[in-house]
Symmetry: C2
Subunit: 354 residues, 2 copies
């Protein structure tokens, strides 16, 4: 079905073949998930059956699990590029698009063909992947439930004297035990002045009383990722900390409230950004409001001031305003949200601990 | 120092600039580690100071942590490519090499310059990174100790009725609690017939008595990864299982014994492969014997029958013969090994449970 949808779009643009190398795109169309640095090539001719080219290591698993395509193994003696060239010739393709290729592979293909157009067009697939179907939504719901479990376990473990990575250990363990297929991205546990790094990951820093701790993490279910952030203070927050939490929380709420189908993504961003600006913290909100999430942790659509995206039913996006004061600390609050016709539904539902 | 070594090599080839986008390469030269999908560009002119271009989100962390370079932020209004073009012009570069670029970035750069040669040359950096210095070796030792802890925790948790991902949970939790910065790659827990998948990752399959379980996992310390595999049988192994374990173990030992500086990588591969071949299981050893490990989990040198690499002192490589019988199960035994002048030193030291 997904392949049919892709072909329908290809037909509109007179594209007669699509070459996929990204493993999440391979999974999207075939249901076969390989390790992250596997070399796979899925060739989808407009007319004819798709073929998945796999290395010997992946052959058994691909043959058992890949749907909607033939599976061909590339022996260690053969070169992938030669097999791709062969398939292009066999199917007499003249106007091919691709999702991603290494520079050397791209240059190699260009050199082999004078009469074949080979064009990067990631949008072709993102336009399908950005709208989640009901099966995908159920996986994303499950991944979000697991993220809630991770946040709760992480926050339970926070106390003065504990190291950042020990919090990560508890959060990740809880998610795994409940069935998460690993983590959606490197867990961020950023405490004290490190909470002013939007991408703090986690260190062996000891957490002290009175400090901010940002927990930003996600789980994986059937390949689909989730993303949630909470910020807590160890012990009683100061007036300044309270104020920061309150402002970011208000910005977060505002953005949630304005989400619905057909709103411009930049408007959602503005709804939160205006709250921070009106309090004099516009510059401390360093990043866009959010991003799509699915098989990848960062997908279209983008929620930012310069975004040209329009939200559609079935988009799943983060809403994550933040405020970062260098040398002092930072606050970020994030939920994963499913776009409906008239509202945005929070998929992550952990308490805010405010 | 590493930058000086790179420049010395560039000088020999009349290369006057090197453009780095891979985040592990950025870390190698600057000590600054960003999240895995960050967009960073490190420009190293032969004459003059290196500059690291970072997005606003990464600026504070980069400024605090990046050594040996200037840090410039690229505001959300600017395009990275324009900043790179500006630096190339400013330094009057004419012969640039790069480690990796997206096809669109590469095409964009090529179009901007008629008189500048821009060439992919990953080897330039791999030739440095493949030989580990004493600091890197100490990080890899630590990562290996953590992997041993993971293997032991995982094996302790194996019993009939437990799910694969529950084993992964215990192994990863133990590594994290002891300070691992996450996992080196997706943990593989492959039981029963799934153990015949060399890249089995892990599923929610329930492990039964009498089955093979392959545990293949790694830890991370100061950015450096480790890699270890053990195969166990739940309960008492059958004669066939015992034989498989014994053959793979013998192949593993043979390869370990022949490692030393200046041996051809294909010879090390052959030493193990010959054991499997002589027992009639040559075809069941589906992959190369091993690979280099460092900041990346798969690095040069490659230990395979077609490898042209020669082992050097300071290389750190896996030795991982395997035997995969489709429908029945598989065995793999793997250690991480440091190449010395006269021998190979096992960095992973967990028991073999044979």
């Amino acid at each position: 079905m997904r392949i049919e949808l892709l072909k329908r779009e290809m037909l509109k643009s007179n594209v007669d073949g699509y070459l996929i190398s990204n493993i999440n795109n391979v999974f999207y169309f075939t249901g076969f998930m390989d390790i992250s640095d596997a070399t796979l090539s899925l060739i989808i001719p407009l007319d004819g059956e798709p073929t998945l080219l796999v290395p010997p290591l992946s052959y058994t698993a691909a043959k058992d699990n890949a749907l909607n395509c033939l599976v061909n193994v590339i022996s260690t003696k053969d070169k992938i590029i030669d097999k791709i060239v062969q398939k292009i010739k066999l199917n007499n393709l003249k106007n091919i698009e691709f999702d991603t290729l290494s520079t050397s592979m791209y240059m190699g293909l260009i050199k082999k063909f004078k009469d074949v157009k080979i064009t990067l067009n990631q949008k072709r697939i993102w336009n399908l992947r950005r709208v989640k179907d009901s099966q995908e939504i159920s996986f994303l719901r499950k991944a979000s439930e697991l993220a809630d479990i991770g946040i709760e376990a992480g926050i339970q473990a926070i106390k003065a004297g504990v190291k950042e990575y020990e919090i990560a250990a508890e959060a990740e363990y809880a998610m795994r035990l409940h069935g998460s297929e690993g983590i959606a991205f490197d867990t961020i546990i950023a405490s004290g002045p490190r909470s002013a790094y939007p991408h703090g990951v986690c260190s062996n820093r000891v957490i002290n009383k009175g400090e901010f701790v940002i927990l930003d993490l996600g789980a994986v279910s059937s390949g689909y990722r989730s993303d949630i952030t909470r910020t807590v203070v160890v012990g009683t927050p100061t007036r300044k900390q309270k104020k920061m939490l309150e402002i970011v929380s208000r910005a977060h709420k505002k953005a949630l409230e304005c989400i619905h189908e057909n709103i411009n993504a930049y408007e959602v961003d503005a709804s939160a950004r205006d709250v921070l600006k009106s309090e004099g913290y516009g510059k401390e909100f360093l990043h866009g409001l959010g991003h799509g999430v699915g098989l990848d942790i960062h997908e279209p659509p983008t929620l930012s001031s310069s975004s040209e995206d329009v939200l559609k039913k079935g988009n799943i996006v983060t809403v994550e305003p933040g405020m970062y004061i260098v040398g002092f600390g930072g606050v970020r609050i994030e939920d994963l949200v499913l776009v409906h016709e008239n509202y945005g539904e929070r998929l992550t539902q952990a308490a805010y601990y405010l």
